[in-house]
Amino acid sequence: MSGFAEKLGALAGGLPQDAATPLRQAGLAAFRRHGLPHKRLEDWKFTGLGDLDRNDWRLAANDATPFGTLPPDASLKPLAEAVAGEPGLLDLLMPETTASAAMAALNAGLLRNAWLLDIAPGAQLSQPITLAHRGVAGQLENITLFMRLGQGAQASLLESHQGAGWYNGVLRLRLAQNAVLEHARLQTGGKDAYHTALLDVHLAQGARYRHASLLAGAGLARHEMQVCLAGEAAEADISGLALPRGDGHLDHSLRLEHAAAHCRSAQLFKNAVDEAGHAVFQGRIRVAPGAQRTDAQQLCRTLLLSDEAQVDTKPELEILADDVSCSHGATVGDLDAGMLFYMQARGIPAETARRLLLQGFAEEITQALEDDALRAPFADAVAHGLGSAA
């Protein structure tokens, strides 16, 4: 058994016995069976987690909620308490038991800092909900959030991850009919940080979800997304920007399923890779039989800014309906020499010109956010990420 798995019993030993215990048991069993994902798994072929295989992780003993002030239309409960009152939740929270889902299983296995957040039907939140995490070296922070938006509710979510240590999180979002959620996610941890996260989104009829992710820190980060357009006329706009540098390894992996007809999805992912950084983008689109009039677009654009910079992209389309409009594309290049010359011909120093062009490259992702309260911190984090990269 590997270093980390050996230590798992001790880590899990301190966890409470409560209504969530079946989740922990199922999660631990699945994780023990598979261990940390490795590159021999198709879904992990570009990202191995071998670095995490050490036995000196401590589980963060942090029970404080990671949320900022919540509005009256939002109700927050510890997940174990929620499961006690609503046993049906157990099924919804049960982790997958495949080898490639081992990190989510681990999250369930160590469930403790775990929450149910309900947004009342019809609620129109004027301020974003904030979820902020700052990791500590040597500690594994294991956050679980199950968030439901009632019918027609509208909200924004600002999620941020900073600091050191290892974050392993699972965030499940359930949008009821016509609910609208805009979600910005900033990962700007230090270069010693590890970050493994699953975002699982389920959209009912007419629901709209907009996501922008920034991976701009951490030695190794993987933001894995699974999005299911389950009801007709649902819409998802998923975008991400990765800025690996040093020897950082930043991975956006997305599985998006069109399970119902008349839905629209757009994916836009960008990477600006400097120094010996490594970016990964995996994007799978599945259009289920019967999901007619699907509109699904995917684009991934990468700038390789140094000789050692690397990118791996893997688009996958599985289309089982016939009346669909799907496209995908990927480009890899360097900063445009013509643009650089134009700027320098105006007296702008080469370094400034590069930074402006990189900001311009990132701008499209920032602009994908519609809520000012999300866009402003996103823009700041991007500027910071590029500033220290230049």
Partner: protein, 252 residues
């Protein structure tokens, strides 16, 4: 007499191909020189070589700005020394607002001249005044540089940048192409407003019409990377009437 720009026996290659084959040209303070010449004769190449574009290699000769050789100076330094190229094909830069781009440029040039940087407010004030001069909508400040601009709007934006940077040596590469008749007048007035005893211009054009507005002191004909004929402003009229046939014939 002093010179602003002096081009001596300039030979240059692009991708190993010889394009400029010995150009000599002296431009004194306050003078406007026009360069005309058939397509492919090397006019834009000359403008890029002067402004220091990568990939344009000077194989012989020299370029002096105010007596100092520009060879070996990167494009950004040449611009800060007062050389300005209005591009034949202005470049689109997605995601970078015109105002951000131009303020970086103005402040880079000001720092170089030992002037204090302009803060956002005073930059905007000057920019808006210059845009008014060119009858440009202020909305162009917030739009990404040249992205989706019409051909004429791009050319006007070049001259707007030039008015903001107040260069000593203006090089205009077919700034008239793409401009409607009214815009041509407005843009020419913008250029004329900059004319003065300490500033000079090199105006590349195919059409005499521009030279009715920006009246040159000298007109040169470039063919196959060489100046094959020089004269006063009447040479442009002669070319307009007769084409290049005779001159190229004479030169051959």
């Amino acid at each position: 007499m002093s010179t602003i720009l002096e081009i001596r026996n300039l030979h240059a290659t692009v991708d190993g191909k010889a394009i400029l084959n010995g150009i000599d040209l002296t431009i004194r303070p306050g003078e406007v020189h026009a360069i005309m010449g058939p397509n492919g004769s090397g006019k834009s190449t000359l403008s890029y070589v002067l402004s220091g574009r990568d990939g344009y290699e000077v194989t012989d000769g020299d370029i002096l700005l105010d007596g100092q050789s520009l060879l070996g100076l990167p494009a950004e330094d040449r611009a800060r020394e007062g050389l300005f190229l209005a591009f034949q094909y202005p470049v689109e830069i997605p995601g970078v607002a015109n105002a951000v781009f131009l303020r970086s440029a103005v402040n880079a040039v000001r720092r170089h001249r030992g002037q204090p940087e302009l803060d956002a407010m005073s930059f905007l004030k000057t920019a808006k005044a210059r845009m008014k001069q060119l009858q440009m909508d202020e909305k162009f400040l917030q739009r990404p540089v040249n992205v989706g601009f019409s051909g004429g709007e791009k050319k006007r934006n070049e001259v707007f940048q030039m008015l903001m940077l107040e260069p000593r040596m203006m090089i205009l590469d077919e700034t008239d192409s793409g401009l409607d008749i009214d815009a041509l007048k407005i843009v020419a007035e913008g250029v004329n407003a900059l004319r003065g005893p300490e500033r000079s211009a090199l105006v590349i054009t195919h059409y005499q019409r521009l030279l009715d507005y920006i009246v040159p002191d000298f007109v040169h004909v470039l063919a196959k990377g060489r100046i094959v004929k020089s004269g006063g402003k009447e040479l442009a009229l002669e070319l307009e009437a007769k084409g290049y046939g005779d001159i190229l014939g004479e030169a051959a």
